[in-house]
């Protein structure tokens, strides 16, 4: 499997190292002399100087016989050009583009580059995942603020899903009341089985909220 990687920045560099470890044949192309020199010191002749957004540069890198081309520059427009040259001109079977604007995933797909990957999306998802575990929303308090009525949406890997409520170990100072699921209201009893995306309404003591949150949402990885 011969892979041409265009862009010798951090992403291209670390990708190349992964590919070499997995015994792929790789050429890494970059158009900065100093960068090429630095990379060559460590990785040798697989590092090539050239312009990956030009047909000539890609030709020199052996794109005619490449199986995959990966565009890892920091600029989405350059990565689009690299992948399109690769696929259309050199008939490379597979092109993979790095993108920084997540909206370009759709744009690239419509323009013929079906695999466009953004680190931004991965970061955003990690954030959403973390935030989702932080939140028991307080609907109201009563008994002089000692008791809270709370609501939360269960996540994919919540510890309480797909088990009967009677099988769960719940904190003593709370009670699970209702599930709102797909527009339906379900009164919770011992036989109820919680599912991801369920909106759970519960009552807890003020101090017991944290334990309840961890029980329902799991421990967030810091």
């Amino acid at each position: 499997m011969y892979v041409v990687v265009v862009g010798g920045g951090n992403v291209g560099y670390y990708l190349t190292k992964i590919l070499l470890a997995e015994e792929y044949e790789v050429t890494l192309l970059d158009w900065n002399h100093d960068r090429v020199k630095t990379l060559r010191n460590e990785l040798g002749d697989i590092i090539m100087f050239g312009n990956g957004t030009s047909i000539h540069g890609l030709q020199e890198a052996g794109c005619r016989r490449a199986d995959v081309i990966v565009a890892t520059t920091g600029d989405d427009e350059d990565n689009l050009a690299i992948c399109q040259f690769g696929k259309k001109y050199f008939k490379i079977p597979k092109a993979i583009a790095r993108i920084t604007n997540p909206k370009n995933e759709r744009v690239f797909r419509e323009l013929g580059v079906g695999t466009a990957i953004s680190g931004t999306s991965a970061l955003a998802n990690a954030l959403k995942h973390y935030v989702a575990r932080q939140s028991l929303e307080t609907l109201l308090t009563f008994n002089h603020g000692e008791m809270v009525l709370v609501e939360t949406e269960l996540v994919e890997d919540s510890p309480v899903i797909n088990k009967k409520v009677s099988e769960l170990t719940l904190p003593g100072d709370c009670v699970l009341c209702l599930i709102l699921r797909g527009g339906q209201v379900i009164f919770i009893n011992g036989n109820s089985v919680l599912q991801p995306k369920d909106l759970v309404i519960a009552i807890s003591t003020l101090n017991g909220q944290d334990t309840l949150r961890k029980t329902l949402l799991g421990e967030a990885v810091a």
Binding site: D75, A81, N101, N104, V107, L111
Partner: protein, 136 residues
Amino acid sequence: MKIIIVGCGRTGIYMANELVQKGHEVTLVDINSAAFDKMDKNLPVRRIIGTGIDEDVLIRAGIKEADALFALTKGDNTNAMIGQIAKFIYKIPKVIVRMADYQSKQFYEEYLDLSCYCPSVISAQNYLEFLGETQY
């Protein structure tokens, strides 16, 4: 006609002036607000600051209603992406992009059906015509 020009350099400004005189509605997009300082402040064109490869910017520039789009930035790859978004995603009838590299122009025209204009080749041809007409 509703016309969008991305890349407000000398060419873009010249075209904007001509088009406005002929009664067309022109929107200029440039990533750098300073570009708009080089033109007459009173020229009735819409000025959008932003990058043309961002769909949201193009939508603000009125791409959904545009009849023509010119991509005239300094970057061939940027122009190619803008042109393709305009032609193939938003189906703008008239799209042409500036392509400094001649080999790239040939590629985009042949393989991606994107009209390109290569200034250096056209300039060279004009210069050579001039030489041809001179008696020496």
